[in-house]
């Protein structure tokens, strides 16, 4: 801006600011008459002025002191401190740095909190540090951070504690309001921790979301008893109070985050006792449920004024359906006069528990008692384009943080069991499928017993080859018992060894070795299942007895083929290769024994899933095979739960007959009482019908049964994505990453969300380290889209060319799709003739598939885009309309919007401006899955960034759609 102009803006701004807000607009209109751009410039500064009141008012250092205090270079990594090997820096706080370390003596992870060198000479610091450690270590409670050791190495003082993987409650709240169920669960656990502390005479005094960690397995841990201190005075004087160490007269500089959770007596610098923790927990609870803190102020002093004088706005004004009881608990915790509050945390805890039980009883969710597994539940299930291959193993060590909080039962159900992956002891490593199969069969048999709680396969398989202790595993899975086993197969002989272990005592309840012929394997499976049921004193119905003694086939070869097919379905990735292999072996199994109902059912399921997710080419023939396989299974064995499930899946995936699908799933529930697959499938169906809330409850139900199921979590995340609840989607994807750290497709998906949020920088940062393999077209396309949004696609062009120089025939029409992306990238790079050549080639690659896959709306959409690129307006419009007909919105609210998006894109490019805008208006008003790359729905940010919409930019209707207020402040 020219200096003269700047001065003009400056002067006008100053004059306007001095006027009353209501008069400013008129003043500007008058002063800027005839100079629209001046009017806009000053107008936007004024708008921003009105919003920027508190912006940067607090000096940077007071907001982010850690940017000055922490060591600049992290030289400790790799060093040994005590017997702890430092692995990485994880945090910096007032009390020094926190590192992730490995305890070399015990081989476990630990968090090491180090006091910096420069401060060990500071006596006050040192004693504070030690005090923190001693206080915390004197408390032994599952909801309080466990301290392993307080030590020193040379001059370095340290505390080693348990390493908590998870997030702080602050972060969780930052991602959005927490539902009342979860909030209660968290509050109950914090209250239990405080009850233990208070009993030991310790008042925490700094309960706030930053000091509450949420662990993936549902445990809540209260941290930082640093400013707590043993109330010696209390012991001495019996007056139940302790002195606040520092009366808070110095309020202006106080960090706001701390002020918000202070009790009135704390704010006044008066004596505090256990009731101060009750207050702070009340504040935290309010904020969890309401999403905003009850006492607010722009400065700490305003905040304190609010604490001392204001009544918090009732939650019912913020949320609907707030239980009255919840409000009354809050009122009682947030009494200004501490005498009127709960007197002890135990009273509050009792009320919280009661409310929790009431809510649970009221909950409309079907109360399925035990997580379990059915045969069909093992197949990962991904939407095409999202997670083509879920690359990488599921062997991750991390556990999933379940937003909906699977509360760990304090005492696990005695009748609960997890069947861990069996070890393959065969000489032939290729016999691994057999060990996997046996484990799965035993697990499946057990899961059909309603009186048992059996953890799903999808949640136990990450413990393959684990060195974790039995007690830890049981704790993470919330079970009392574990079954371990090994299988050794040589020719037609098999040796199966199993050990049933009670986790609490690490003692064997039962161990047995079976040496049998392979043909006799079913008897081993049913004997094992039967014995376990006996040992755990499970009651069996007559039908259940039959089911666990079942002999699915008399043909050992057919069974072998079935086990091989099953093993492929158990693999992580629902990739075309895995699906094809599973299909091949299952077909072999039913060829060898045409009466093998279970194999028919699994075949039907594999086909249906391949059809739906397009990991198999969705031909008419495939659809027919799916239906026939399900019918055959049902005819052979009408009461086979897996067969009924398979039929439901056929209705759902192939016929889109959702009501029939729901009926089948509900019927299957009788035979598969504990299967997480049932609510999972119901969640998918409800979603397709646009019943988002119902779908959400089914997802939650399934996750309670199967909390570490990556595919389930991914689907749940995608649901959030479709309804544009991006922060919740990101959080779910984070849970996936907790199970499979660094998973390429999940990270790519998160990048897709960043793109939709208009944050290209974040998207780029997420994508930069990813190197998707050539067959992971989903992730590749997200990368190309990024390059296109950034409008610098040169590098991607050469990468795509290289991939397409040797196309993988197994990818079918996806090669043509990828070539469309190449053409688009070339177009953006300005190389029109190369782009035309790519589009022509893409058309040639796509068209042949159309005949076999007349219902494949993605394929049709790709063809529409390609024709659009070639300038064939009529064909492009025609094809995009055809895609909308194939998949009308009424039929499928999840995928249905995708063809509309294609249409909007085509219309925008070929000059059908009105129709393009009408389509976009529709799309932005409904939940939808996007048509391209990440399948993230269109957002105003994408409209602003995506070059395909450039022809619409001058249209005011488009500008309105693309406008989105962004607010951000330090």
């Amino acid at each position: 801006m020219k200096a003269e102009r700047w001065k003009q803006v400056n002067d006008l701004f100053q004059s306007a600011v001095e006027r009353a807000p209501a008069e400013r607009a008129a003043f500007l209109d008058e002063a800027c008459r005839g100079d629209e751009s001046l009017r806009r410039e000053v107008g936007s500064l004024l708008t921003s002025h009105e919003r920027s009141e508190n912006f940067i008012e607090l000096p940077a250092f007071e907001v982010a002191p850690e940017l000055v205090t922490s060591e600049r270079t992290n030289t400790l990594v790799g060093k040994l401190i005590g017997h702890y090997r430092i692995e990485s820096l994880v945090g910096v706080g007032g009390m020094g740095e926190v590192y992730l370390a490995r305890d070399e003596r015990l081989g476990r992870k630990a968090a090491l909190k180090l006091l910096p060198d420069s401060l060990t000479t500071d006596e006050t610091q040192l004693s504070r540090f030690k005090n923190e450690a001693r206080t915390a270590s004197s408390l032994n409670h599952p909801n309080i951070l466990t301290v392993y050791e307080i030590g020193a190495e040379g001059n370095r003082q340290f505390i080693a504690t348990e390493f908590i993987e998870g997030i702080t409650l602050r972060v969780s709240i930052g991602r959005g309001r927490i539902n009342p169920h979860t909030a209660l669960e968290i509050a109950v656990q914090v209250a239990s921790a405080l009850a233990a502390a208070h009993e030991a005479g310790v008042v925490h005094r700094d309960i706030k979301p930053e000091n509450i960690m949420l662990r993936p397995d549902g445990y809540v841990k209260v941290l930082d008893f640093g400013i707590a201190k043993l109330s010696e005075q209390r012991l001495a004087s019996h007056d139940h109070t302790v002195e606040t160490t520092a009366p808070l007269q110095t309020r202006p500089g106080l960090v706001l985050g701390t002020a918000r959770y202070m009790s009135p007596e704390q704010a006044r610098g008066q004596k505090v006792d256990v009731r101060t923790d009750i207050w702070s927990l009340g504040v935290v609870f309010y904020e969890m449920v309401g999403g905003i803190p009850p006492f607010r102020g722009d400065t700490p002093s305003d905040c304190i004024a609010s604490i001392l004088t204001a009544e918090p706005p009732p939650l019912s004004g913020i949320l609907t359906d707030v239980p009255l009881k919840l409000e009354s608990i809050l009122q009682k915790a947030l009494r200004k006069n501490s005498d009127e509050r709960y007197h002890t945390i135990k009273e509050m805890l009792a009320d919280l528990r009661l409310l929790k039980e009431e809510l649970e009883a009221d909950s409309s969710l079907p109360q399925t008692k035990a997580p379990a597994e059915s045969i069909v539940s093992k197949i990962k299930h991904h939407k095409r384009g999202m997670l083509f291959t879920l690359a990488g193993a599921l062997l991750a060590a991390a556990v999933v943080y379940s937003f909906y909080f699977v509360a760990p039962a304090p005492l696990p159900n005695e009748k609960s069991i997890a069947v861990l992956p069996f070890e393959n002891l065969s000489e032939e490593k290729s016999n691994a499928y057999f060990a996997d199969g046996i484990q799965d069969e035993i697990l499946t048999r057990l899961s059909k017993i309603a009186d048992l709680k059996v953890i799903s396969r999808t949640s136990t398989q990450r413990y393959k080859n684990t060195s974790q202790k039995v007690s830890e595993i049981a704790n993470q899975l919330g079970v009392a018992n574990l079954l371990e086993g090994s299988v050794q197969k040589t020719n037609d002989q098999v040796r199966v060894n199993v050990q049933l272990i009670r986790a609490a005592s690490d003692s064997h309840l039962w161990a047995e070795t079976f040496d049998r012929r392979v043909t006799d394997i079913f008897s081993v499976e049913s004997e094992v299942a039967k014995t376990i049921a006996d040992r755990l004193r499970a009651k069996l119905t007559g039908q259940e007895e039959q089911v666990i003694a079942a002999r699915p086939t008399d043909n050992p070869e057919a069974y072998d083929a079935y086990l091989r097919g099953l093993a492929y379905t158990l693999k992580t990735g629902n990739s075309p290769a895995n699906t094809l292999a599973a299909q091949k072996y299952l077909k072999e199994a039913v060829r060898l024994d045409s009466k093998f109902a279970l194999a028919w059912a699994l075949l039907s399921y594999v086909d249906a899933l391949g059809y739906l997710t397009l990991t198999l080419q969705p031909t008419v023939a495939l659809r027919e095979e799916t239906g026939q396989a399900a019918e055959t299974a049902l005819t052979l064995q009408p009461n086979l739960g897996e067969a009924i499930m398979a039929r439901g899946y056929y209705y759902y995936a192939c016929l889109k007959d959702y009501d029939a699908a729901v009926r089948s799933f509900e019927q299957a529930r009788q035979f598969l009482p504990n299967s997480s697959q049932i609510p999972e499938s119901l969640a998918y169906v409800a979603r397709r019908q646009g019943q988002w809330d119902r779908s959400e409850s089914y997802f939650n139900e399934a996750e309670r049964l199967d909390p570490r199921n990556v595919s389930l979590l991914t689907q749940h995340a995608q649901s959030y994505m479709i309804v544009r609840r991006f922060s919740e989607a990101l959080r779910k994807f984070d849970q996936v990453l907790d199970v499979i750290p660094g998973d390429l497709d999940t990270l790519a998906q998160q990048a897709g969300i960043a793109q939709a949020q208009g944050d290209l920088q974040r998207a780029a940062a997420l994508l930069a380290p990813l190197h998707p393999p050539a067959d992971d077209t989903g992730a590749l396309e997200i990368q190309v889209y990024q390059a296109i949004l950034e409008r610098r696609p040169v590098q991607m062009i050469s990468q795509l060319k290289e991939i397409l120089s040797k196309p993988d025939p197994a990818l079918g029409y996806n090669n043509g799709e990828l070539r469309f992306w190449l053409g688009w990238a070339q177009e953006i790079a300005g190389d029109h003739s190369a782009a035309q050549e790519s589009f022509r080639q893409a058309r040639g690659e796509l068209e042949p598939f159309l005949k076999e896959q007349p219902d494949n709306y993605v394929l049709i959409g790709d063809l529409a885009l390609v024709n659009m690129g070639l300038g064939d307006k009529a064909a492009a419009l025609d094809l995009s309309e055809q895609a909308m007909r194939v998949l009308p919105l009424e039929k499928d609210v999840v995928d249905g919007p995708a063809p509309i998006e294609i249409f909007a894109r085509v219309a925008a490019q070929v000059g059908e401006r009105d129709r393009a805008i009408a389509a976009l208006e529709k799309l932005l008003s409904i939940p939808s899955e996007g048509a391209l790359a990440s399948r993230v729905p269109l957002t105003p940010a994408l409209l602003r960034l995506d070059p395909m919409f450039d022809p619409l930019r001058n249209d005011p209707r488009f500008q309105k759609l693309a406008a989105e207020p962004i607010s951000r402040s330090l």
């Binding site: 801006m1 700047w6 701004f13 100053q14 600011v17 607009a25 410039e41 936007s44 500064l45 004024l46 921003s48 002025h49 919003r51 920027s52 912006f55 940067i56 000096p59 940077a60 250092f61 007071e62 907001v63 982010a64 002191p65 940017l67 000055v68 205090t69 600049r72 945090g91 910096v92 706080g93 007032g94 009390m95 926190v98 968090a111 420069s118 401060l119 610091q125 908590i164 993987e165 998870g166 602050r170 930053e210 000091n211 941290l223 640093g226 160490t245 520092a246 110095t250 202006p252 500089g253 960090v255 701390t258 750290p741 660094g742 380290p769 406008a963 962004i966 951000r968 402040s969 330090l970």
Partner: protein, 196 residues
């Protein structure tokens, strides 16, 4: 802990040079002042957790007392020191934020923590870097506004202190600050806001 008198003399000398218009003097000041700021910040911050105040000016004042040879008072030595320190503070924080950002990109997300700091600072770093960048653009357009922000936001100076240092009226500083804030806020909001 006392600062060697040689350091004090050097700092004093450099400060004089800088206020005399030698920009390179600031470069040389950086390594001398940085450790002291770091140490003091740490010290104050740990006290903050026990409920004490955390004030930028207090730290800079203390650094001044420790680092500058006040046996030979220089005219306006203190305010010049604070002005230099504000710039240094900015640099320290920005460098740090960058480091954290690169750590985050290279080494994966800092997801795991025992303490809120690691998590919160990710966004703080990001935002601080964005602010720094915006401040840079503001400085190209209107150096005085940018300097006022630097003194106030990074140096912790009040309006009065800023006015005193810049030899401007209190009111002018207030006005400049108001517009600078609006301008920066808009720059950080990612796009020009429509009115209303």
């Amino acid at each position: 802990m006392t600062t060697p008198s040689s350091t004090r003399q050097e700092v004093t000398q450099l400060l004089g040079d800088w206020s005399g218009g030698d920009d390179r003097a600031l470069e040389k000041l950086f390594p001398l002042v940085q450790p002291e700021l770091h140490r003091l910040a740490h010290h104050y911050m740990s006290r903050e957790r026990a409920g004490h105040t955390l004030q930028t000016t207090a730290i800079l004042n203390e650094a001044y007392l420790r680092l500058v040879d006040n046996t030979k008072p220089v005219w306006q030595g203190r305010s010049h020191f604070i002005a230099a320190a504000a710039q240094l503070m900015r640099r320290i924080m920005v460098d740090h934020a960058r480091e954290r950002q690169s750590l985050k990109r290279g080494g994966g997300a800092l997801k795991v923590t025992l303490d809120e700091a690691a998590l919160v600072t990710e966004t703080r770093s990001e935002e601080l870097l964005a602010l720094d960048e915006a401040l840079e653009s503001l400085s190209a357009q209107d150096p005085r506004k940018s300097q006022i922000v630097e003194l106030r936001y990074f140096g912790g100076l009040t309006v009065e202190e800023t006015a005193e240092f810049l030899k401007l009226s209190h009111r002018t500083v207030e006005r400049e600050w108001t517009m600078a804030k609006a301008w920066l806020y808009r720059a950080l909001s990612g796009k020009k806001l429509d009115e209303g």
